[in-house]
């Protein structure tokens, strides 16, 4: 499968159909994968595909990366979950579908964090998203590499994230508040959550707007709370639960809980799931007479 990815990349670069292939490669020691940008056909052999390929590379398609855009038309090696983000980028007019060549790879799951890898992909080192994945066969792609996956996700989503959300929902609101204040108190305002997110593509984030300063930049409890809540709200109805923000967080804030909770709320209120249809608009930016609006009491 890895060879097929390399061959495909080589072909696309040789024909000139794309100028850069965004994919995963090895670090120097061959212990961790890292994003690579292949511009010459002879370098296509650097591409790899394995369960360590956790990064959602769709972030490199956004306008945050002007120097990558300057390289020319890109191809991107993408798992189904990564493609969900590309679909949102297309639906939000950030990328034109025809401007990117998607090399879809079928996937049996990836590791939650690369340091957990001991040479074998076991269920306990896979993130919740993989256990519930319905896009192991890429749903939007220009070509799909790999054998078709026969995986059928459970009817009711299950896994650690859902269990923890359930436990939190069962608490009194004061206890929930206490939980989140404690979790957010560790935030160091490095903004890795935002930077790694392909849907956080604003060139000027609200936290950088300082006349007036809407969100305090200090990493004190008030500043941390306002930053994390604002980011969550800006992703409501858009986040695809790719999990990159939680993976990138250097202080282990369980951002997947926030995001999955919002996804569930949006699903219940608007019957909408982001990332499946590149022509659908996220519910927060459209008005529909069919909206239930049962949150207004």
């Amino acid at each position: 499968m890895e060879n097929a990815v390399r061959e495909k990349a080589k072909g696309l670069l040789t024909s000139g159909e794309v100028k850069v292939v965004i994919g995963w490669g090895w670090n120097r020691n061959g212990t961790r994968t890292t994003p690579v940008f292949i511009t010459r056909p002879e370098d296509a052999g650097r591409l790899v595909w394995n369960p360590l390929c956790v990064n959602n590379l769709s972030v490199y398609l956004t306008r945050k990366f002007k120097d990558i855009q300057a390289l020319g038309r890109p191809a991107i090696v993408a798992k189904g979950c990564d493609i969900k983000n590309i679909a949102v980028l297309v639906s939000e007019a950030q990328v034109k579908r025809e401007d990117v060549y998607i090399i879809g790879v079928t996937c049996d799951g990836v590791v939650y964090r690369q340091e957990l890898w001991k040479g074998e992909l076991t269920p306990n080192i896979m993130p919740t998203k993989c256990h519930n994945c319905d896009v192991r066969n890429p749903h939007i792609a220009d070509c799909v590499i790999g054998d078709r996956s026969g995986f059928v996700p459970p009817e009711a989503p299950a896994g650690m994230v859902f269990d923890r959300i359930k436990a939190l929902d069962a608490k009194e609101s004061a206890q929930r508040w206490e939980f989140w204040i404690k979790e957010f108190s560790r935030c160091v305002k490095c903004y890795a959550c935002r930077q790694v997110c392909s849907l956080c593509y604003c060139e000027r984030c609200i936290t950088e707007k300082n006349m007036p300063q809407w969100i305090e930049t200090s990493a004190h409890p008030r500043g941390n709370l306002s930053w994390n809540l604002t980011r969550a709200m800006h992703l409501a109805g858009r986040c695809t639960f790719c999990g990159e923000c939680e993976r990138a967080c250097p202080v282990n804030i369980p951002l997947n809980l926030v995001n999955q909770k919002l996804i569930t709320v949006v699903k219940d209120a608007f019957d909408y799931r982001s990332g499946y249809d590149a022509s659908a608009h996220p519910p927060m930016i459209v008005f529909s007479p069919e909206d239930k609006e049962n949150f207004i009491k």
Binding site: R32, P35, V188, K189, Y191, A192, N210
Partner: protein, 338 residues
Amino acid sequence: MADKFLKRENLGRLIDSVRNGGARFVAPAIDARQAVYRAISGADEVTWDYILPRNSFKDYLFPQTEVVAEYSIGEGGVEIRGRELSPKDTVVFGSRPCEAASLASLRSVFTWDSVDEFYTAREDKTTVVTVACTNGDEACFCTTVGLSPESVAGSDVMLRETADGDFSVTAITGRGRGFLSAHSAAFEDSGSGSAQKPLFVPEKIEGVDISRIKERLARKEHYDDPVWAGLTRKCIGCGACTFVCPTCHCFDIIDEGTAFEGERRKNWDACQFDSFTLHASGHNPRDAQFKRWRNRFMCKFNFYPNKFNSRGCVGCGRCIRVCPVRLDITEVMEEMSR
């Protein structure tokens, strides 16, 4: 030859002795599945199972956010009140040699053109008790930057673990000797005679040559070398590497509050943020991520050594471990050694 010995089970006695003297005891403890430096109150909070804590202990010398002044505006005009700094005596226990070596670097920056007392007053009251490394991982590269798992620079007291889990204790500085005598009840005069546990010595990265890097960075032509963009294009521009780095020291001054009263704060900033060098005019001299990365690398291997004659990188490897895209500074060092 060791001055004293510390039995592992006597750590609690040491902590009590330090705290009874009115000082803070900072040591690695587990928080959210990570070892983190924090002020602790008892030995049961301390973890021994760590390579390096997630954060650098610079947090205790140069806090992520602190109030430096307060202001109020009333009928009588503007009143500005500075913050008197009276830092607590602090013992940092369980530091590593790489990290301790960064103290001289931070000091050189904070005393360069003016003395930043918010830093120096704290450092003057800090005793660093380092434990030589018997544990490490592939991100460790102290030997590549000229340090080792038993370097003593920056440490006041050095601990070496013995095979039976206790420690031989050596005072490195006058402050360290004072520390040993002030808390002598926690230490033994002689050990069990058990051998020292072998150190974890990271393999020196063959392709890296620090003097060659300095040489190359001193020549202006490197500035436009396409190698920078090629190596660092994947950088997503977060501040994780700078915030965990023991020598990164940049900060921003901001005012927080209402139009009539508030506080002026000193907050960590990161050269990796795109707004770091954004001018009021809208112009940004570092308008692409690779330029910001080039700056960080220049800071470590050109500005620090040339301007301050100090070490910009201590090889702790935190930036490598924390990077969401696994941008490995040693791979850039290797390329820049060519």
